[in-house]
């Protein structure tokens, strides 16, 4: 059979996985450099921004991969993103409201902590949506 093969959900996550791993490595390396006290300011800024281009390539790879998906998998991704968006809005609104009442500790609730919750919410949405169509 010569029909064009359609990538499964597994290959969708596998292809950009290399870039996502590179992104995480860059992020941890940046944190490592930034925790070193002897690094000058320009070095700290460069280290802080180093993961950004890697993250951009990883995200672009995810978008490219999504174009090859079949119609059901696209719907699953769309619903997962919609769930993640709504949960993110809820999370940020909740944090904003709590912040009106009490000062949140920036060591626990700064942007660098909150952004990491967004992929978690996306994967939660993805798991829920996949179960719906399984």
């Amino acid at each position: 059979m010569n029909a064009k093969s359609v990538p499964s959900a597994a290959s969708f996550t596998a292809r950009p996985a290399v870039w996502v791993v590179a992104w995480l490595v860059a992020w941890f390396l940046a944190r490592l450099v930034l925790e070193g006290a002897t690094v000058p300011t320009w070095g700290r800024v460069a280290a802080a921004l180093a993961p950004v281009p890697v993250a951009a390539v990883a995200l672009l790879s995810i978008v490219r991969s999504a174009r090859d998906l079949d119609e059901l998998e696209r719907r699953i991704q769309l619903e997962a993103l919609a769930i993640a968006f709504l949960l993110t809005m809820l999370l940020l609104m909740t944090l904003g409201l709590i912040e009106l009442a009490v000062a949140l500790n920036p060591d626990d609730w700064s942007y660098r902590h909150v952004w990491a919750m967004l992929p978690v919410l996306y994967f939660a949405g993805l798991a829920w949506t996949r179960r719906r169509y399984a």
Binding site: P7, S8, D70, E71, R132
Partner: protein, 66 residues
């Protein structure tokens, strides 16, 4: 929406993977259509019709607004 996809596939002795490959979709898509969890787009429905040599309305049964 109900459909006769599973019956038509069984008549040809195709697995879900076989049908998925012929339709250029994932096996999960075929499974979701067969179980009625997902209604295919119009282009995919026509592709299914062409593959089985039957009109779309013979494969997909309109249950009305449920």
């Amino acid at each position: 929406m109900k459909n006769r996809l599973k019956v038509l596939r069984a008549e040809r002795d195709w697995s879900q993977a076989d049908l998925a490959e012929r339709l250029e979709v994932s096996r999960q898509t075929v499974n979701s259509i067969e179980t009625g969890k997902y209604d295919p787009s119009l282009p995919l429905a026509f592709r299914i019709g062409r593959l089985f040599g039957r009109p779309v309305e013979e494969i997909f049964i309109d249950g009305g607004d449920q």
